[in-house]
Subunit: 363 residues, 2 copies
């Protein structure tokens, strides 16, 4: 954190004392009038009007730091992400979430403060701790992405700071979080495929052991277990295939081998790169097959932006805006009631798409 040279940033910034002088009252009165007079102290309408007029005239705005220090609140919600909040590389992945966060925050009368954890935080002891500590300026904070360092975050939570993590994060005891219901959505996709007539399907996972991935696999297995599917899919390499290098392992011949075993539907999960899905699509292509005529494909999530032009994959959409909104709701519940009891899981919407259909008649 680069310290600025001594600067008088708030040159003309009016304070309550100045409003008070202009209105001919005391600073206390100004505070009383402007903060809604929660003490129930009676005030003359005249005085009130004078104060408001003076404040308006001076363009008074309360200092959030002072408000917060005086043990009140400042109606600021923090949004912290360890990487840039507006990422350039993972194009727009957080953006839709922020849309939801902003809408909900505005609706509830909060402003948003963006805290970005700079990867380079040299000097100060405690490393990332200092970074995370800044969020205390806000009444509460949303944490974005699984790269938020656990230790400082735990400290924050232990000390009672209202925090909500966006994305499943239950390794931190006591940390509230909201997440997409990947398990249910995946199960829904499996059920839809089953309804189309598929009896045997394979889930292609990347080796990434993200929580979201675990959820999807759980949902997948659970849904398989519901019908005859489990037994049917258990043959061959099993219903879940975990690959380290999708492009190399998921080939045309791999697809043909699965088809020969009776697999008729292939499911991949969305990841940062969507490598598994890409590999799957490429392999099907290379095998001279097309979906949904020869086999069915499903993507557990949304396709990456650069594949936007292609056939819309069957699967589900994570309602990212809704996720952000839910996070804000949970956080404000924490702030006002001291406890959040909203469900942390946001349902995903099934997306019909055009890559799944009835399995081809057995040869």
């Amino acid at each position: 954190m680069a310290e600025q040279p001594v600067a008088k940033a708030r040159r003309g910034r009016p304070r309550q004392a100045e409003v008070a002088r202009l209105a001919g009252v005391s600073q206390t009165t100004v505070s009383l009038v402007l903060s809604g007079n929660k003490q129930g102290i009676a005030l003359h309408p005249d005085t009130r009007a004078r104060v408001l007029e003076a404040a308006r005239q001076l363009g008074y705005a309360p200092d959030p730091a002072a408000r917060r220090l005086a043990a009140a609140r400042n109606d600021l919600l923090g949004v912290f992400s360890f990487t840039a909040t507006f990422p350039t590389d993972v194009a727009h992945s957080y953006y839709p979430i922020l849309v939801g966060v902003e809408q909900e925050a505005v609706a509830r009368g909060y402003d948003l403060v963006l805290f970005t954890g700079s990867s380079a935080a040299p000097g100060r002891g405690g490393g990332g701790a200092a970074e995370l500590n800044r969020v205390r300026l806000a009444d509460g904070c949303l944490f974005l992405g699984r790269h938020v360092p656990a230790d400082p975050l735990r400290r924050l939570v232990e000390q009672g700071y209202p925090a909500v993590h966006i994305g499943r994060r239950d390794e931190l005891e006591g940390l509230a979080w909201v997440g997409a219901d990947y398990a249910a959505a995946t199960a829904e996709v499996v059920r839809r495929l089953a309804a189309l007539g598929h009896r045997r399907m394979v889930l292609v996972c990347e080796s990434d052991q993200a929580l979201a991935s675990v959820d999807r696999e759980r949902g997948f297995r659970a849904a398989l277990g519901e019908g005859e599917l489990a037994r049917a899919s258990d043959a061959g390499p099993g219903p879940v295939v975990r690959v380290a290098d999708p492009a190399a392992e998921i080939t045309a011949s791999w697809v043909r081998a699965r088809l020969a075993e009776g697999v008729t539907a292939f499911v991949a999960e969305e990841t940062d790169t969507c490598a598994a899905w890409r590999a799957l699509v490429a392999a099907v292509d290379a095998a001279g097959l097309t979906a949904p005529a020869d086999l069915s494909l499903a993507l557990l999530g949304a396709p990456p932006a650069d594949l936007a032009g292609r056939t819309e994959p069957t699967g589900f959409d994570v309602p990212k805006a809704e996720l952000g909104a839910a996070a804000v709701r949970t956080l404000t519940a924490l702030l006002t009631e001291g406890g959040a009891d909203c469900s942390p899981l946001v349902p995903c919407a099934f997306r019909s798409g055009h890559t799944a259909g009835p399995p081809p008649p057995a040869p």
Copy 2:
């Protein structure tokens, strides 16, 4: 008694006084040790070590609110846009700017506060003025988009509030702004076309009288004036054609008529809808012509997202991220030095594209 509604966030948080007690020194000393002792006051290594150890043991972390209150600044930069900061519809238009704003703000140790014009702030009088007043909570503020109401903004500026507008905005005396150098970029495009051999070219403008449009036209005319181009292009309807309804006016026959007059290059400017460019492309298409074989096309700006798949137009790119970064630099200069003397114009990068080439040999 317990606090009523607001969660007591500062439960177990140690403060400097406690660290001081543990280390057997005064609070001042703790502050001195922990804040790097900028006063150059000498401290015993022993004392220093004791304090650091005590702080570590207690898990001390400074309260940012107090720190900022004492420092008389809050290291917060506002970002205000009259429409939602994260618009859902024109999602991509502000985003790249925000990327630049965030990067530069982080680099300079500032956090960002997002203000949304649409937020309902009841109670305060003054209508839209009150909206803008909220930004005073930040040390300074960036304003995005030309829909920021002029009157309240003027008031802010007049009262010495550090504000920077993103996008040219010189009708407000004293308001700092940063903008893209459309004139220079346009001139560059003209020069490139001239270098390719074009002697006669037409700029198609929409009736929109935006400042950016004016700049482009100015650059266009200026560059024409440099060579033989002006005289050559002055014939016919003149070098600049302003159309109210591009789709209706820019037709295949219009293009043919211009070609017949000797025009070999057509330039359109980017607008929200890019109607002129779309019309031009459609008209060329309808005339059975192709660029750059039969004629050259250039777009002063970036093509809209839905045309991303098509041939990349020759023209220039507005470095939006750089624009955001420049705005932050200007604002911080305002904050620390009291005056910004950085150039408000950000150069645009020429984009070769594939729609311009040498003019076809005269028939």
